[in-house]
Amino acid sequence: MALIVDDLLRLPVDLGMKVLQAIADDADAMTLKTERAVREQVLKTQMQFERGDLPEEEYRATMSQLRKRLDEVKGV
């Protein structure tokens, strides 16, 4: 019963978050289409890392993805 209650309460929140995530993903895909946009994201990530907002592991993973994205938009 508790599980059903929890699910019921979580559902709208989860739904909202999924919709927001989908919008964010679309926005990311849209904005990371140019070299400049990827570069801006790289600098933002570096700043978050320098300020301790991003753990090293997450920083390395994000930078690796951004490197790939940069190669893609440059057509390498």
Binding site: L8, G16, E56, Y59
Partner: protein
């Protein structure tokens, strides 16, 4: 011939990559911890110094060198109070000396603020499931709405479910603001300075930086533990030592 070669080498390595500014009269060699394993050393103006390494290039790729910059800065921080530089600050030795002399009074004021203190970055996040359960049991309106929907098919209660979700989110935001300001105020009282930053995710309650006197670090730790006990069922708290970017903002290159 020898002097010609030396001049040529010097001009090829004319750039100085800057990691930090420190309060020190004494020349210091930090070893080969710089970008491209270069030696890191100090350039002085009176009792203030820029910590640099030599380079033949003015710009560096952040994707390749971002980690090294931060690791070098962390090593420097172990020995000195620092005004940290963001990635990519590179210029000539002459420009660095000019910068230090022109900004000497301002830099001294910054060091008065920073010496003997540490920046501690605190991140507080919801234990979201526990919190939602708690909201459901304590808020009468939400409890009533939940009872109305329970057991009914999804397609017939879609609107009510969205309304319920909105109410839960509103209640969460209300609690977030109250808890964030309380934690910020309590930790702020034992700090020399404090700054509230933008939350980095929906589940984050507070993202703040505190400038704490080293003699009060233990008090800060004890208070975080007390807060963890008070809010432990609802919140996760984590703090890290970070370069004091939140309390000084200096760039040698614009």
């Amino acid at each position: 011939m020898k002097s010609m070669l030396r001049t040529e080498t010097q001009s090829k390595r004319r750039w100085r990559y800057v990691y930090a500014i420190i309060p020190s009269r004494k020349e210091h060699d930090f070893g080969q911890i710089g970008l491209d394993d270069e030696n890191v050393y100090t350039i002085h103006y009176r009792e203030i110094a820029a910590v640099v390494s030599d380079s033949s290039t003015k710009t560096f790729e952040v994707l390749d060198y971002g980690i090294t910059h931060q690791q070098a800065l962390e090593k420097i921080m172990k020995e000195y109070c620092v005004i940290p530089m963001s990635f990519g600050q590179s210029t000539t030795e002459g420009d660095i000396k000019t910068f230090l002399s022109r900004n000497y009074p301002k830099l001294r004021i910054y060091f008065t603020k920073l010496v003997g203190k540490t920046e501690l970055g605190l991140k507080v996040t919801w234990k979201i499931d526990t919190t939602i359960k708690e909201i459901a049991s304590s808020n009468i309106k939400i409890r009533a709405m939940k009872h109305q929907i329970e057991g009914k098919p999804l397609e017939k209660t879609y609107r009510q479910r969205l309304t319920l979700g909105t109410k839960v989110a509103e209640e969460l935001t209300k609690r977030e603001e109250k808890i964030a300001s309380e934690i910020f105020a309590r930790l702020g009282r034992i700090s020399a300075d404090a700054k509230m930053n933008k939350n980095l995710s929906d589940e984050m309650v507070l993202n703040a930086a505190f400038l704490v006197d080293k003699t009060k670090e233990q008090d800060f730790d004890t208070l975080v533990n007390t807060l963890e006990q008070e809010y432990g069922e609802k919140l996760l708290m984590k703090y890290v030592v970070a370069p004091p970017y939140n309390f000084v903002n200096v760039r040698i290159r614009s």
